[in-house]
C-alpha cells in the first residue's frame, strides 16, 4: 500500500531550524537544472494576476511577496544543495494554495512532497512527504533558514 492512505509508518518529524549536516562548500557552477527551474518560476507568475474570487468560491488572490518567499526558498536551497553535494533537485510545480498561500509540489514515482508557504510572512511553512518505501516526513520550518536537508530528502 502506498503510504498515506490509512497507516503511516516510519514517520520522521522535523523541527524548525534543524539542518542537514553540510559537507564541503567547494564553489561550483550554477546547478544543472537552473534553466528549467527559472522557466518554472517564470511560468508560475500567472496566478499572481488572479483577483480575489478567482475560483468563484471566494478564494483570495496572491501577493507578490508570498510568491517571492516561495521562489527564494526554491532557488536558495537548490543552489545550496548543488554547492554542497553537486545534486540537482527535480523541478517542482509552483501552485496556488489555500488562503493566499503558495504550494510547492513534487510528485514522482519515487516520492511526493508538498510544501506550503503561508501568506502571512511570520508563519512557518509546513510540509508533508512520503515514499513508496514507507518513509514519511512532515513538519514546519522557517523558509529563511538553511533547509537543504528537506530538498536532500528528495534525492535519497
Amino acid at each position: 500500500m502506498y503510504p498515506g492512505k490509512g497507516k503511516v509508518d516510519n514517520v520522521i518529524m522535523f523541527s524548525p531550524g534543524l539542518r542537514f549536516d553540510e559537507k564541503d562548500q567547494t564553489p561550483s557552477s550554477l546547478p544543472e537544472n537552473q534553466g528549467k527551474l527559472q522557466t518554472a518560476i517564470e511560468n508560475s507568475q500567472e496566478f499572481l494576476e488572479w483577483e480575489d474570487n478567482w475560483d468563484d468560491e471566494g478564494s483570495l488572490g496572491y501577493r507578490k511577496e508570498t510568491w517571492q518567499r516561495a521562489t527564494d526558498f526554491i532557488l536558495d536551497n537548490n543552489l545550496r544543495l548543488w554547492q554542497a553535494y553537486h545534486v540537482a533537485m527535480d523541478v517542482p510545480d509552483i501552485l496556488p494554495g489555500p488562503n493566499g498561500s503558495i504550494d510547492i509540489h513534487w510528485q514522482t514515482p519515487t516520492y511526493e512532497l508538498l510544501i506550503n508557504i503561508p501568506a502571512a510572512p511570520d508563519q512557518l511553512a509546513t510540509f508533508y512527504g512520503d515514499k513508496p518505501s514507507g518513509t514519511v516526513i512532515k513538519g514546519r520550518f522557517q523558509t529563511e533558514a538553511r533547509n537543504e536537508w528537506l530538498i536532500m530528502w528528495l534525492t535519497e
Partner: protein, 132 residues
C-alpha cells in the same frame, strides 16, 4: 427533538448517518486543475464553511453537483468514497443538509498539508471540464 433542530441547521431535512460505502461529489473549478487533475489546493475549506463542502450521492448526481456552481461549465466534478475519506487522520464526513440542497455534507477536519496530499490520492474524476 429532530436532529436538524438540535444542530441548528436551517432545513426541514433530517440529518442522516453517511455510510462508508457512499460517494461524495465535489466541484473543482478550472483554475484548480492542471493537466486534467485537481491541484492540492482543491482540498480546502471554502470561505463561509466549517468543513469541505460536498454532496452525498444518496441525494445528488454529479451533474446536479456541477449545476450548483456559479458557472457550471467552468467546473469538473470528482467523487470520493466516504470510507476512504474517513481513513485520513482526524477527518469525518457529516450530512449537513440545507434547504436548497438535501445532499449537502461537509468533510470536517483541518486541511493540513498532509491531509491535502492524502485527499489528492482518493478522488475519481466523474465529470471532466468541457473540451479537456
Amino acid at each position: 427533538m429532530a436532529n436538524h433542530v438540535a444542530n441548528g441547521v436551517d432545513t426541514e431535512w433530517e440529518i442522516e448517518e453517511i455510510p462508508n460505502q457512499s460517494l461524495i461529489y465535489m466541484r473543482v473549478h478550472k483554475n484548480e486543475m492542471k493537466n486534467g487533475k485537481p491541484l492540492p489546493f482543491t482540498f480546502r475549506i471554502r470561505p463561509g464553511h466549517t468543513g469541505m463542502s460536498v454532496d452525498w450521492d444518496k441525494y445528488a448526481t454529479p451533474e446536479e453537483t456541477q449545476l450548483r456552481a456559479k458557472n457550471p461549465a467552468d467546473n469538473a466534478v470528482i467523487a470520493m468514497l466516504v470510507g476512504d475519506v474517513r481513513q485520513i487522520p482526524e477527518h469525518e464526513v457529516l450530512h449537513q443538509p440545507i434547504s436548497s440542497n438535501r445532499a449537502h455534507s461537509e468533510v470536517m477536519g483541518e486541511k493540513t498539508t498532509e491531509a491535502r496530499v492524502l485527499f489528492s490520492r482518493l478522488y475519481k474524476l466523474v465529470i471532466s471540464l468541457e473540451g479537456a
